[in-house]
Amino acid sequence: MEKIKLNETPVRTSRNFNMNNIKLENIKIPKVIKTFDNISINNETSKIQIEKTSNNNYDLTYGLGNIFTNQVKNNSNQSLKVQVDSKTNKELQIDFKFDSNNSNLVDSIIINANESSKGTIIIKYLSDENKEYYHNGIIKLFAKKNSNINVIVVNLLNSNSNNFVSIDNELCENANVNYTIIDFGGKNSISNYYSNLKGEHSSNSLNSIYLGKENQLFDLNYIAELRGIKTNIDIEVQGALTDKAIKHFKGTIDFKKGAKKAKGNENESCMLLSDNAKSLALPMLLCSEEDVEGNHSSSSGKTGEKELFYIMSRGFDIKEAMKLMVRAKFNKILENIKNEDLKNQIINEIDKKLD
């Protein structure tokens, strides 16, 4: 089967480093997309409205590649539009549940956060255990002036499935967007995240957790372009890999000319729990503006032997001690999730994956 090349980085580096894109084999991209009806929506307020739409007419700056972008724009089986008008932080939760009758999801979700609005949008992708499912989705967020939006995307698909996600944000003046991505599922989980911080004083934090086991492959391509003055991006990525799992992290903070006094921080850390796991990272800083502050850090390696010894000396076996270590590492990001049910579901999933 032909290899598909996708998720290109904004700037290329040597081909020998294998990080400019990801090439996948044996991906069955469904030509005919049947309906996907197993959706549940839970809305705390009528000020956050959700409706079906047929209009997928928006631009993506990057995305995963034409095949995936065009499939969503022209052939989606779920197109939703979320309108946020709430002045207090209320939640909207959308759950997509894959099963044998709903095995392919091609979804487009547009989130319009109106001026000075607040809200939290939780989008979950869940599946039963056995079948191979296909998900290709785009989430497009327009954060208007002074809006304050939290988006939490949770991928809990089984490890036979393929998960493709493109996220594209536009932030206007003083907009504040907090994105959290929990990326646990999929044989291949390929995600592209882009934020255009064009509005002055706009701010975006992206917190992401991945947890890979068996032969899972994660390819995370996170890009932030800072254009407005005093804009701010914080990217925090924490992950753990066991068995033969592989992670490619590509993080780009791009200070464009004119982004005076902008700040960007990026931290990526990977715990390797197996000698067959692989962690690759490409944390990029691109800078065309003098008056900025940019920092990135990246680390990977084994779990701390001293910490492990300490926990085990308190009566935990190695597996439990590992779980505690991983949970502790992820905790900083999980603390941002205020929905306790969701947080517990994620913690249970961590325990299950590390059993």
């Binding site: 580096t13 081909r15 000698d275 692989k278 944390p283 990029m284 800083l285 800078c287």
Partner: protein, 466 residues
């Protein structure tokens, strides 16, 4: 606050042009006949001629890089790949033709040789015109000569090592180098011999529309040590010149090699150089690199840590001014247990110059308990310059520890304010901060080179404060 003007590097010394005089200059272009002619001019053994022709075949098959700076203006049909100077190889400066000797005098090479070097090689265009080493090192069995002599005099060692560390199919410009290489140095340090005083080779390209393709092959045997210094410069011409040298370093078990470079090519130079070291058990390889010249530079020295306990350290600085695109960095591959790498890279961009730090750290599965640490800092001196950091970190064993950090920004207003509150002028404060930024690199250089580097970062401050 007024902008501080930080001057370009003073190039007066480096820009001295001699008449384009030579004994032989090959026609421009790159064909099998040209390659055969170079080989004939050098009176080489057949194996080397055949090797060159094979490299040309590979060059023609390989693509240009699809990443990094634009080098589309390079047209090999405009480049003469071999310029034989009107001088044979000499062991006394008195025998070197006057104008060539004057050039090296102004660059301070004979003076440095007298004061602080154990041996010197000087290349002018495509051939080495001077080579000399202290008698005591010769007695200890150290070999330091030009590559052409080594090919003829030590064919066994050369055949075993030449372009084995950097194979000709590595990339297009390595293949080019294999086809047209000329000049360079060969160093062989026998087992256990410690060369305490540095050896230095200086490469000078005088001829316009020409290329320099020197090959440096250094073998530091078990338990031996060496500090080798490489300097390079050229005067500026209107059309591009090309430098595609190749450095192969073999650091055997328990050996130590420090390789220092001050690169100050002219701003019409495309510097597409390749450097690689194979590092044995408990051996250590240190790179110290200052990159100031060139229009475009693509230079990523590499250490391959093949022996258990091998170590490498890279300390480098790039300074890009107007019209310069310096795409530099470092690559390391950990292939054995308990290996370690430390990278400390700095860059300064000004006047629309672009600095890119591009790198790879790969810790392979067999490199149990290895450690890697990377730190890079970029300083932007104005808002028309560009600074990018593009590192790849690839870790394939759970027992490794790896960390990377990078910073980008301008001179801190707070630091200027602090120094000014202590009575310094704004200009002096900024100058001190820039020198302090470069200090971790300059302190690693031999004293006379540190002085040269400080001269290179010639700070001239002007403008009203307020």
């Amino acid at each position: 606050m007024a902008k501080t003007k930080i001057e370009d590097i003073n190039r007066n010394i480096y820009d001295i042009k001699n008449e384009d005089e030579y004994e032989f200059k090959i026609e421009k272009g790159l064909t099998p006949d040209i390659i055969k002619e170079i080989s004939k001019q050098k009176n080489e053994p057949d194996w080397m001629r055949d090797f060159r022709l094979k490299a040309l075949e590979i060059y023609n098959k390989l693509e240009l890089p699809t990443w990094g700076p634009d080098i589309s203006e390079l047209n090999m049909n405009d480049i003469a790949t071999y310029v034989k100077p009107k001088s044979k190889l000499n062991s006394s400066w008195d025998d070197v033709p006057e104008d060539i000797k004057n050039t090296f005098d102004k660059l301070g090479i004979p003076e440095a040789e007298k004061e602080s070097l154990a041996g010197v090689g000087a290349q002018y265009d495509s051939e080495v015109v001077y080579h000399s080493m202290k008698e005591e090192l010769i007695k200890q069995g150290v070999i330091y000569t030009d590559m052409e002599t080594a090919v003829k005099k030590y064919p066994g060692i050369v055949k075993e090592h030449f372009m084995k560390c950097v194979p000709i199919y590595d990339h297009k410009f390595v293949a080019l180098h294999g086809a047209v290489w000329s000049g360079g140095s060969f160093v062989y340090v026998p087992e256990g011999v410690k060369v305490d005083i540095p050896l230095q080779s200086y490469f000078r390209l005088n001829s316009p529309e020409a290329g320099q393709f020197e090959h440096t092959l250094i073998i530091v045997n078990e338990g031996a040590s060496l500090h080798f210094i490489e300097g390079c410069s050229a005067p500026k011409y209107n059309k591009v010149n090309l430098h595609a040298g190749c450095v192969e370093l073999y650091v055997k078990d328990n050996a130590h090699l420090r390789y220092s470079t001050i690169e100050n090519w002219s701003k019409n130079m495309l510097n597409l150089n390749t450097k690689k070291a194979l590092v044995g058990k408990n051996a250590s390889m240190e790179w110290v690199s200052g990159s100031f010249g060139s229009k475009v530079s693509m230079l990523y020295p590499m250490s391959i840590l093949n022996g258990e306990g091998a170590k490498t350290e890279f300390t480098g600085i790039s300074f890009a001014g107007k019209g310069q695109n310096l795409d530099n960095g470092f690559k390391v591959v950990h292939n054995a247990p308990n290996t370690s790498s430390v990278v400390n890279s700095k860059s300064i961009s000004k006047d629309g110059g672009k600095c890119t730090y591009r790198a790879l750290t790969r810790i392979n599965k067999q490199a149990k308990k290895s450690k890697g640490m990377v730190s890079c800092e970029s300083l932007m001196l104005d808002d028309i310059s560009i600074s990018d950091t593009i590192p790849v970190n690839d870790v394939r064993t759970e027992t490794a520890e790896f960390s990377h950090e990078a910073k980008i920004g301008k001179i801190s207003d707070k630091a200027i304010f602090y120094l000014m509150s202590r009575g310094m002028s704004e200009e002096d404060a900024k100058a001190m901060i820039v020198r302090g930024f470069a200090y971790p690199i300059s302190k690693e250089l031999p004293v006379e080179y540190a002085v040269e580097m400080n001269n290179l970062i010639n700070l001239e401050l002007e403008g009203a404060i307020g």
